[in-house]
């Protein structure tokens, strides 16, 4: 601290002398620097990371799960193999006997059993273990997890997301959110957590030499806050960062590798479907016909994107239903639907009914995508489109937290929103449609008005057969797209660039990391 204050004083004095200050010399140790615009995502353990994708990623370097994903799908992590026994409604995992904690103790089945029991007692906000009955460890490296009922997203939500915690550390911790001891970050992942600088928004991780899948490729992983990703990438301040699609070509010319994600994130129009006129399906369909998705992409995103399926699931998802009802831009149909509801054109070309003008409020804000706030003009374009067919729109641009709060409390008409996870496990359909799954999310439509949809959503959660589940999920997309409790607008192009000279092949994970995080920081990129 003294050194820093002395440095500040000396730096302050030195600033009065006009000499140029050179860039710092590149570090000699092998390291990877990852740029992030926000910086702070909490401390990297299950109870202290922010419950957002970038927070989970920071934790995932330190804490391993039973299974993980690489670019081709699920791969072994702490569990070498796993199987489901429908008769006993149980998953059996065989653990890798080489797995160790960062304090060099062996990781055993008892740690897995402890983790499940601990999460039942102290819920971890990122997963729910409510459908797990119990877990047992018949052998040191064999775990059996019994379910209360069949649970189809188990591998995605629990096997591939639940961080395994060391029993010998946490068994005596009664208040995990407040626990910040030096061993609070002891995991079994490829990196050990060394530091988080809150003022700078930087994180430091060091390779764990005894990692059971081999020593990681980079000795250190460092997160730094970066305001302008392109500049930081070009001048080698960072080796990996999310970029805007416009930056792709200039960065390629500068020798950086550019990668593009599947369409796993969608911008959508939230609708207050519990009040008139939005509670009439015809009105929601009229909105869908009135919106020209391609025009939004062209005018607001300079063409970088693709119109979204109205069935919510991504067109890249293996369970995507190509027969999902669609609403190609058709103003005539939009007007016909409004007129079927009794609306008539009034003064100024706007619709009215019973002397009352048809006027809606549209909330818009800069939405955070993969941890970065992205500015756009979606609200302006949608306002123009709706006014062209005769719906007067009061556009209100707000900061995201305010918009989220108004949507959460049903204090809105229409709101531009968005979320990822749509190329991951189809459980996202339940979370984004049903109030019993997604009540906590501001992106959820919380739509329970269609009994068939409710039944299908429940059914897909308990269908363990992949093909039968696919048929149910296909039907969900059809019903959802017909009812339109929210309208998926488009998939923005999501890109990242990295310094390929480091020899680390970063990639976007199919379906997203864990439950669907669309960030190309998969720790498997650093495992040989």
């Amino acid at each position: 601290m003294l050194k820093k204050w002395m440095g500040f004083c000396l730096g302050f004095l030195a600033l009065f002398f006009p000499f140029a200050t050179p860039c710092p010399a590149p570090a000699q140790v092998q390291e990877v620097r990852i740029g992030d615009s926000k910086g702070d995502w909490g401390y990297p353990n299950p109870y202290r990371h922010y419950p957002r994708g970038p927070g989970y990623i920071r934790m995932s370097w330190v804490f391993d799960t039973l299974v993980w994903k690489d670019q081709n799908g699920y791969v072994a992590a702490l569990a070498d193999s796993w199987a489901y026994d429908p008769g006993r409604m149980a998953f059996t995992f065989h653990l890798n006997p080489k797995a160790k904690w960062h304090d060099h103790r062996p990781l055993t089945a008892r740690d897995v059993v402890f983790t499940i029991e601990y999460f039942k007692k102290h819920p971890y906000r990122w997963i729910s273990v409510d459908d797990v009955s119990r877990a047992e460890a018949p052998e040191p490296h064999k775990v059996i997890v019994y379910l209360l009922k069949p649970y189809s997203p188990f591998i995605s939500d629990i096997g591939g997301t639940m961080p395994i915690m060391p029993k010998h550390i946490w068994q005596s911790v009664e208040n995990p959110e407040a626990y910040n001891g030096p061993d609070a970050f002891t995991g079994s992942g490829p990196y050990r957590f060394l530091d988080f600088n809150k003022a700078q928004g930087t994180y430091l991780y060091e390779a764990f030499g005894e990692y059971y899948q081999g020593r990681p490729k980079a000795d250190r992983v460092i997160y730094v806050r970066s305001g302008q990703a392109m500049v930081s990438l070009v001048n080698r301040q960072v080796d990996l960062a999310n970029i805007q699609p416009d930056m792709a070509e200039p960065l390629k010319k500068r020798g950086l590798a550019v990668i593009k994600d599947d369409r796993g994130w969608n911008k959508k129009l939230m609708i207050h479907h519990r009040k008139a006129p939005f509670n009439d399906k015809r009105f929601r369909q009229a909105l869908a016909f009135a919106i020209n998705q391609q025009e939004i992409i062209d005018k607001s995103h300079r063409g970088f994107g693709m119109p979204a399926s109205c069935g919510l699931l991504s067109v890249d998802h293996p369970m995507y239903n190509p027969d999902t009802p669609s609403y190609a831009f058709n103003p005539k149909k939009a007007r016909a639907l409004l007129e079927s509801m009794g609306y008539e054109k009034g003064a100024g070309g706007f619709y009215q009914k019973g002397g009352l003008p048809l006027e809606v409020e549209l909330l818009a804000s800069n939405i955070t995508v993969a941890g970065q706030s992205v500015a756009d003009r979606d609200g302006e374009v949608i306002k123009k489109q709706l006014e062209e067919i005769g719906i007067r729109v009061d556009l209100v641009n707000m900061e995201q937290a305010t918009t989220d709060s108004k949507v959460k409390s049903w204090n809105f008409d229409l709101a531009v929103s968005g979320h990822g996870g749509i190329s991951g496990d189809p459980r996202i359909l339940n979370e984004m449609i049903s109030s019993s799954y997604g009540a906590g999310s501001v992106n959820s439509a919380r739509y329970d008005a269609n009994p068939e949809l409710n039944r299908l959503l429940e059914a897909q959660m308990t269908e363990m057969d992949e093909e039968r589940r696919k048929a149910i999920v296909s039907r969900i997309q059809e019903v959802y797209a017909a009812d339109l409790p929210a309208i998926s607008l488009y998939y923005p192009d999501s890109m990242a660039a990295y310094n390929s000279r480091k020899g680390i092949p970063w990639y976007y994970t199919r379906g997203g990391i864990s439950k669907g995080i669309p960030i190309p920081q998969n720790k498997m990129s650093l495992i040989k």
């Binding site: 860039c23 710092p24 419950p51």
Partner: protein, 312 residues
């Protein structure tokens, strides 16, 4: 002095009450991700916990006992967070204010002395134009030139994170990182200081005591600085006090563009997360700093211009 104590109490009440008027809440901002699995009961518990607030009396007691509370998001004492961000803000904003004030003052004095000449006309014209350029524009241009194209200076951060440096190397590193945001702020503050000083000096140079000094045959430099500039200094000092009020918010744009650590960034993150205790802490701290600086300036006025003392 009593007025300042009353003002401090009012500020404490404002910092206590105003952040609560913000729409939105911490639970929605923190736990509204599509991946979070909160049931209604858990959410209600969280909401109850995070909306629990002490009364104003308790708040005051906590303030005076230096218990400023914990940040919801950082789970860290607020005093620690402010203490970590403050040196960076002081380095950037303190230096920017001081440099732009000294340079603006000197340039303004010289321009006023050369009133009507080409240098003065060019200076006033260019400074008027520069005054109208927003910081965001200057920042982007400087970034493009010095970070992107020339690659001379880093584009982000306050220092190169996690690099072993000697003290000398570390100072150079910090200076390299602060150079662009500092230049941006100096370019933003300098024109105002220049124009204010020049305006004040032009008025002072018309005074009879300046004619007397000239008639006595005093050297021009002495007339400019010992007689005229000292009398033109008061408006500049007042401006300095007022600008301190912008210490937190004024550099927010620059701190964001350059990802520079500081109180502005901390406040921005606190507001976006609806971290009420942290918002309250930063608002109160910066208000008290402004109050303290203005109190100090009251004494400085008397020292700079003894007539002020006799006015009371």
């Amino acid at each position: 002095m009593l007025a300042y104590v009353l003002a401090a109490l009012v500020m404490m009440y404002v910092s206590y009450s105003v952040p609560r008027w913000l729409p939105g809440d911490f639970v929605t901002a923190m736990y509204s991700s599509s991946h979070v699995t909160l049931n209604a009961e858990q959410e209600a518990e969280l909401r109850a916990y995070y909306t629990e607030r002490p009364g104003f009396g308790r708040y005051l007691v906590d303030l005076f006992t230096l218990n400023w509370g914990y940040s919801f998001a950082f789970l860290t004492p607020i005093s620690e967070l402010i203490g970590e961000a403050l040196p960076w803000s002081l380095l950037l904003l303190g230096t920017a204010h001081l440099l732009s004030m000294i340079l603006g003052f000197l340039a303004g004095v010289e321009a006023a002395w050369r009133r009507g000449g080409l240098v003065e006309k060019a200076g006033v014209g260019s400074m008027t134009i520069l005054e109208g350029i927003p910081e965001i524009g200057t920042a982007v241009i400087l970034l493009l030139i010095f970070a992107l194209h020339l690659g001379w200076l880093p584009a982000a951060g306050g220092e190169t994170a996690y690099v072993e440096h000697s003290t000398g190397q570390w100072i150079l590193d910090v200076m390299g990182h602060v150079a662009l945001p500092l230049a941006t702020l100096c370019l933003a503050y300098f024109p105002g200081n220049f124009l204010l000083t020049r305006g004040s000096m032009v008025m002072v140079l018309k005074e009879q005591f300046i004619d007397t000094a000239r008639a006595k045959g005093l050297p021009p430099a002495r007339i400019r600085y010992a007689h005229a500039a000292r009398n033109a200094l008061l408006p500049m000092v007042t401006r300095f006090g007022l600008r301190i009020a912008f210490m937190v918010t004024g550099a927010l744009v620059v701190e964001t563009i350059y990802a520079y650590p500081g109180l502005g960034t901390l406040l921005f993150n606190a507001i976006s997360m609806r971290d009420l205790p942290l918002i309250q802490g930063i608002v109160l701290f910066s208000s008290l700093v402004v109050l303290f600086v203005n109190l100090a300036l009251e004494f400085a006025y008397g020292w700079i211009d003894p007539r002020v003392k006799h006015a009371f």
